[in-house]
Subunit: 147 residues, 2 copies
């Protein structure tokens, strides 16, 4: 295998370059959100639960387009910190997910931090490039997902 070929793989691999960019952006969000005690991923979960009256694990995982079992694990630390409550659902199979008062408080404090992170990322890229990035990310999620 030629060296040029290998450089091409690194430059052109959609998976690698997505993961690399995700690592970088996640670090920015985690830094800004640190003061709230939340990670970027956790902020998303709280945001999704903030208004929902009817969240269950399966429904939420579908809404966020993530694996159900991944969501279960991601909810664990939020439960442990008392931010998310898990109560009996409509069914004896289902569990209702909701934010606790503390969860709402923490999320409320985190929103301005999230806005700062978002602002910094947009400023770093320039608005036009950021718009382009988001457009392509939305398209990618749409076209890839078998859901």
């Amino acid at each position: 295998m030629k060296p040029s070929k290998l450089r091409e793989i690194e430059m052109s691999c959609t998976c690698f370059n997505l993961r690399k960019a995700t690592r970088a952006v996640t670090a920015v969000f985690d830094d800004f959100l640190a003061a709230s005690g939340l990670r970027g991923t956790q902020f998303t979960l709280l945001a999704a639960l903030y208004q929902s009256e009817t969240a269950t694990v399966t429904r939420l995982s579908q809404a966020l387009v993530m694996d159900r079992t991944t969501l279960t694990r991601n909810l664990k630390p939020l439960q442990d910190q008392g931010l998310v409550r898990v109560s009996p659902g409509e069914d004896r199979r289902t569990r209702a997910l909701s934010l606790s008062a503390k969860g709402r408080r923490v999320f409320g404090k985190a929103v301005p931090l999230w806005e700062q992170a978002q602002k910094q990322v947009i400023a770093s890229l320039g608005k036009t490039n950021w718009d382009g990035l988001m457009k392509h990310l939305h398209l990618t999620s749409e076209r890839m997902n078998p859901y």
Copy 2:
């Protein structure tokens, strides 16, 4: 907090949308590469090691722009499978990383599978959109990374 605000967070969060797209694309690559026994991330590591004569953990982590300790953990299963060899380096501090014969063989078999995955992703997005995605990902990595 208004529902519209929350929907906006989900639609506009750079971190969430990057992670979501990454999950989707990673699944495609992992599926195609499954026959080789490699994950997308592992394929990248083997590609980087394929030609390198002077790889060490730190140098490779810098080349791939990933945390050094993450790389250490990611190399572990490849070592265990006998694909990557770790030998004494120039220093008594450093360790030299290289592909074993088996590692080269497995990587060689995986390349066409990677090409299929890549082709499918490009086809799903359309070449123009894929070009746009990659351009924005490269830009994002450049602008975000403090390295």
